[in-house]
Subunit: 233 residues, 2 copies
């Protein structure tokens, strides 16, 4: 009988923000797979490191950070092939995913390649958006407010129109897009309502009003913008 | 010295989808507070029940389910006063919150009443939106897709325009608004792309294509709509 593919959300980075289910499945896993930088670390593996058994086999999937999509797709092809081999041999495979597997998670590339042939179980994780709200001590959405989640790479025109039409906004993957995003929010007169957070829940976390954000932001940074249109109190 | 107020996200319902941090704090808590139906159960307490110490003091906050806001606000006033008394006496107080405390969570009403006087620590939880995507086996957002979260009580015109302009949509708090939401999605020709999920992660979970959804939906139900505009594969 084939094994099951587990897509495990690890949460935002603090290992204690993993779920009990994630911790149980990782600790019991014989085969653990995870994405990694081509010549470097795996953030996902670092979150789960203390739980991975010394006897577990590890499948490292080095994902090239290129704008072209073909190299990354080829990396997922190769990773999926290795995982498929173990699943076909009857082993369960646990895939480690930062945050949540289906919320901008690279797990979906493996899921797309394997879910037609193998049973899959997706374990949701704590996402960065509520972690950032918690750390900034800013409620994200109340009552009948709407939430819009935008990726930072969107172009300026798109960003502006999406922010204008929204109530609560979380802008993900800020990184090198910070100057563009900041200028859109400034132009809209919303800077005073925006909070900048990087590496939420990790020891090196930074939480600042957007007006005091640094010039350079890492990939794992976010901007929260709550217009407070629903007077929920 | 005053105690600390902990707002603890419990996740969507399966006790195993609680975080390790939530479980640790609840098990150690001397004072546990939670919202409850006026003459009934507390869903939040039921998720955490196995972890609450027999010696813990419990503060039950009965929240009236009325359209008028004054009765609920009065209930939170009374609950906050009881919590403040314990915090002022130096006890930490753990508040149990379904899902995530700052994602449509009633914890924000207590936070607003207490955070100016007491230290607060918010522990994020797994939200229903990624749980629903996991259980429906439908990736929520990939690459540069945008996500829109809408509450079901929005009126038909607002719902329609928000769904038209969006890519991935999660409609929360469906309940008695199901016929209205279904008619908007039908009119837009998007029914084939919509999934209906109730009580995600609980034993009585239901996952169905929207076209097969029941006539009556409970409050804890959601509709996911992924237009798949970003060809991420």
């Amino acid at each position: 009988m084939n094994g099951t593919l587990y897509g495990i959300g690890l949460g935002p980075g603090d290992p204690e923000l993993m779920t009990l289910k994630a911790a149980r499945l990782i600790a019991a896993a014989k085969v653990v797979a995870y994405p990694a930088l081509e010549r470097g670390d795996s953030f996902a593996r670092s979150i789960a490191a203390d739980l991975i058994s010394e006897d577990a086999d590890e499948i490292r999937i080095p994902v090239p950070m290129s704008v072209e999509r073909a190299p990354a797709q080829a990396a997922y092809d190769a990773g999926a092939a290795q995982i498929a081999e173990r699943l076909a041999a009857g082993d369960d495979v646990v895939v480690l995913c930062e945050g949540d597997p289906f919320f901008y998670g690279s797990f979906m590339y493996l899921f797309a390649r394997l879910s037609d042939r193998f049973d899959c179980d997706i374990i949701p994780g704590v996402t960065s958006i509520t972690t950032v709200a918690a750390r900034a001590q800013k409620p994200l959405v109340a009552r009948n407010e709407r939430l819009t989640v935008l990726p930072g790479p969107l172009d300026e025109v798109e960003l502006r129109s999406r922010i204008e039409g929204a109530e609560s906004v979380a802008i993900m993957k800020v990184g090198r897009h910070l100057p563009k995003i900041r200028s859109v929010i400034d132009d809209l007169g919303l800077t005073a309502k925006a909070t900048y957070v990087e590496r939420a829940s990790l020891p090196e976390e930074v939480v600042l009003p957007l007006s005091e954000a640094p010039e350079k932001a890492p990939y794992f940074s976010m901007i929260l913008l709550a217009k407070g249109t629903d007077p929920w109190l």
